[in-house]
Symmetry: D2
Amino acid sequence: MAGNTYGKRFQLTTFGESHGEAIGGVIDGCPAGISLDMDLIQFELDRRKPGQSKIVTQRKEADEVRFLSGIFEGKTTGTSIGFIIENTNSKSKDYDHIKDIYRPSHADYVYDQKYGHRDYRGGGRSSARETACRVVAGAIAKQVLKELKVTAYVSSVGDLTVTKLYHELDFSEIEKNPVRCADPVIAIAMEDLIKTVKKDGDSIGGVITCVIQGVPVGLGEPVFDRLDAELAKAMIGINAVKGIEFGRGFAATRMRGSEHNDEILVGGTTKTNNAGGIVGGISNGMDIYFNVAFKPTATLMKDQMSINKNNEEVIVQGKGRHDACVLPRAVPIVEAMASIVMLDMYLEQYGKQGIDK
Amino acid sequence: MAGNTYGKRFQLTTFGESHGEAIGGVIDGCPAGISLDMDLIQFELDRRKPGQSKIVTQRKEADEVRFLSGIFEGKTTGTSIGFIIENTNSKSKDYDHIKDIYRPSHADYVYDQKYGHRDYRGGGRSSARETACRVVAGAIAKQVLKELKVTAYVSSVGDLTVTKLYHELDFSEIEKNPVRCADPVIAIAMEDLIKTVKKDGDSIGGVITCVIQGVPVGLGEPVFDRLDAELAKAMIGINAVKGIEFGRGFAATRMRGSEHNDEILVGGTTKTNNAGGIVGGISNGMDIYFNVAFKPTATLMKDQMSINKNNEEVIVQGKGRHDACVLPRAVPIVEAMASIVMLDMYLEQYGKQGIDK
Amino acid sequence: MAGNTYGKRFQLTTFGESHGEAIGGVIDGCPAGISLDMDLIQFELDRRKPGQSKIVTQRKEADEVRFLSGIFEGKTTGTSIGFIIENTNSKSKDYDHIKDIYRPSHADYVYDQKYGHRDYRGGGRSSARETACRVVAGAIAKQVLKELKVTAYVSSVGDLTVTKLYHELDFSEIEKNPVRCADPVIAIAMEDLIKTVKKDGDSIGGVITCVIQGVPVGLGEPVFDRLDAELAKAMIGINAVKGIEFGRGFAATRMRGSEHNDEILVGGTTKTNNAGGIVGGISNGMDIYFNVAFKPTATLMKDQMSINKNNEEVIVQGKGRHDACVLPRAVPIVEAMASIVMLDMYLEQYGKQGIDK
Amino acid sequence: MAGNTYGKRFQLTTFGESHGEAIGGVIDGCPAGISLDMDLIQFELDRRKPGQSKIVTQRKEADEVRFLSGIFEGKTTGTSIGFIIENTNSKSKDYDHIKDIYRPSHADYVYDQKYGHRDYRGGGRSSARETACRVVAGAIAKQVLKELKVTAYVSSVGDLTVTKLYHELDFSEIEKNPVRCADPVIAIAMEDLIKTVKKDGDSIGGVITCVIQGVPVGLGEPVFDRLDAELAKAMIGINAVKGIEFGRGFAATRMRGSEHNDEILVGGTTKTNNAGGIVGGISNGMDIYFNVAFKPTATLMKDQMSINKNNEEVIVQGKGRHDACVLPRAVPIVEAMASIVMLDMYLEQYGKQGIDK
């Protein structure tokens, strides 16, 4: 109800502030009897972790997850899975200079107005640090729904765009470059761009493309809880995301129906896949693909004008650590949320008994 | 749970098929003591109604709503509001030719696969006819939250695009042209384009822009139930919608932070509004604006290839009635869902006691 | 959220006032492909109907349900089922004398205080007339979960109590007497008692026992959504209910563990069934049984002291129609809610695919 | 959805097994700006703690709560409150003898059947150890809703019953005796009875009465989410509870309406309070009171017959630590759940802005 829970059947509830003692969460509704590979969970966390490469923020966090319940003898028990990730490198003092200041395009001002009591340390609850919890849950969801393959990659940074469609790319390239771009040539240019932007103390936006393969026909509920509507909610709910488009997306608005319609072939597949694998809010068995738009990070290493708590004009100093481009670290978050949505919808359609153990 | 309910505090549950006896719904959580103007509700329904102009489908439906409960002596009682809209012009026979056929880019195939039992008459539950119920609930939400002004308009049809920003437009123009475009000059070109497309038996997509004014600071819950995440779910949940972007949206992905950040001014407003009125998932008091992408309608008056129930290749004949462009009729639906989301979030923040009666 | 919806997977949302145009509801989450026997639904409604015998209220209502959606060619489609029951005998004038008066032990006063705007006609939303909608949904739930047998009967009226346990009784006797008591001898005494109470213009309470047979092991979720907790919520949510006890119930509070524990036998059944078929909130495969306590009806044909809207002392006149004992009509309501709860829990454990069609 | 969350507005999600690393939870929806007295929270935990007196189990647990988020500078921030309680004295080895055995009237058998993978250590998730988390949330709810006074006490153990009504008792006596009985004379007899039962290796049930004072008129939603229905769900959801009755409860079933009805007095109070403060599911401003029936604890220090995993007859040895009577430790749990329900309902009626800070 108050916004810290995602999902109806596979439910993740998270807690924790950027600079509190720990972040963590509870996963409810996970089917019993699933063998969990803890290394895979840590692998996903490491992909999101700060300090993993030179183009991301240099804050150091171990990001080690400690499971407290719901797993016994290596398998899920069907009861709620509690977990925490301690904050080991939370330098609250770094934030003393913004204690009474509202940073532009951060949530400082709206939190203070909404709650009247703000945890100013590193953004508190509004910090993207919380997304580590989503990565944990997503890594579990991935292991529950083994038949699905969820892959995200950076498809644009600023004006640099991968023009090849997803099926023309080699997904094994993604983890080979620090940008997590599926096109190794453009990846190099992107890395250079991010370094330049970082040197400028500035930030830059971009697009992540997500592809879900191996989806059965029939996932998604009609009317309000459509598969694409749920994916949209999950993606727009990621920090810095400002847009989403499915299949041909905004380009489809310029097409005619005779051009956009996907002819159905014998066997139920479609000749084209302009719909992006979802028709009437329900998966049609084709690959699902969508683009997620990230705005440039709000934290800059440049001075900016703003106001303080007393409604006085102030200069917000550009100092501390920042991500010049969040996209490389956001790739596992997009995959995590997509996995959670797919599992949630799968459970609605097939039930816990429908899970292959 | 099964997808026919939207909202947590102001809840709409709908039922009904395109060619069943009636469609309808239940609105729960509406504050008590609100005087309802029934003409305003019918006005919104009439804007969505088929047959309202030459550029929309010529199916004739009275679309008269009958309220069965929750309103007494002209005011809401605080209990659930039940309503129905009878289907008066549901020619089921029109659909005999598609009884065993799956129309391309319609939900026929996925419904049959999902449920194993399909109401083939006019799309059944997947028909956009259901959206009339959302318009009813939206028209009530609008009357509850009087201080907000929700305005939607067609901002592009195919390649024809309104280039002026929303604050440069005169919203009183919207209802003066059948396209519901806020720019009267482009509206004429759009109308011509739709007529041409219709003559071709084809269809065309476009974009609706929605603007919400008078929003207090602090609406939206952090993390998952962000205001933009909820608006995204509500919009992607409208038939034929394939994308959404807030504020600068996809354009923001090509911007630098120093360009995109909205400097905060004394008083709490921002110098620019690239964020589109939502920061960290919470309203910041500036105008909210977003674009919604509609694909071209799937129904064509052209023959198309597809398959039937027996998995045999068939020709789907182009006949019957259709909307060459759904956008003019979708404008009130976008406004309705936006109003419902805003009221739902308002109730979370201020409670029922916070409603001005 | 606002209280007019029951269930998470099989969801019933109801609307309607005692003396409005109609009552009705929406059932969401019903599995597709279930053949529905409409006569069975009407049969259950007739058991709840006023005027069915001399010992119940003489208000005449046809109580005919009209289904508007979700059923096609005699089978459920998996989409939401909308239905209405018109109010044909709502004599609002009967209530003019209580327009400004709060009847003792009715909801008049609390509704007025809560909502500030009260539908005074026959109790409005607080009337037990709303339970007809629950009976409709329950009659559908019964048909979905064919392997379960849900049976309720009157086990006490005032001081007259059936002392035999449920398994010593012949359930085929229940429908043979107007009281719906499973013991035909005590039924006669009960009928006499109700007639005497009615003649006095008074009312009387009693107990309904409910038995659920054929339950698989494993229904119910641990911790909060226990099977017994959900049944308790559903039963206490019925008008006039003031208590519930499972298995040995309050008598168990006076027992020792060595006496109360149910020894487990080879095969998993238990030697005794003091638990009433639910252990740790989860069904153990034994018969579920529980008692539901009904207070005497608040409406009397006697004058009573109370206050009016202006906070002045008034006499509430005893006139109109009333049930001297609601229990005979409440039997199908108890069965309906029990069936809804069981199906809801069944769907959590086995999913829609687990339903036998 | 999967049962580990209680509440809609003030939500508690718990995790943790009796003998896992830790138990804990997340509280969502707590209003911001509430000063929390940590000692009061620990005080409530200490009331539930094992080893607190000679008549309860001698397992030693520090039961110290560690808050990880949602509280900053001593006040709630409005974001989710995460907390854990480490299990410091979980002797898993104590349970090796029941690893493959199903203890009578415990949840061992149903968990194994339901999940196919059971955490056998001390009951795992079905252990009442989980209720410590409810006590934490309840202690916070109590501090949010300061105007309410929630008091529970033991009103019967076995055949020993407090016959005085709650308003004839001195609540300051409750904490003065280890039984937590409000009548000091009967408390002594109860203590003796529990000691005797314990010496026998047996257990005994009883009743806890809960009284809620200072309740405003209007809490509770009509139809399904009635205040009494929610309290019933919350109470039956406590381990070992088998029944609940509000106001006169089961005794009301033997009364006539003319005797049971509560005459309304000038000012809106009632002459009698047979209803127990709830009419039509909504609080009427009078004291709320209800009785909760606890069965005798299932764990005995006597040998019992049962079966093992291989469906073979076995003897379950009576050894280890146990509570001969859980009621003294259950008093704070009843208060906690009552407080949570009341706050949840209060937030529905008045919103977060209605909370006095």
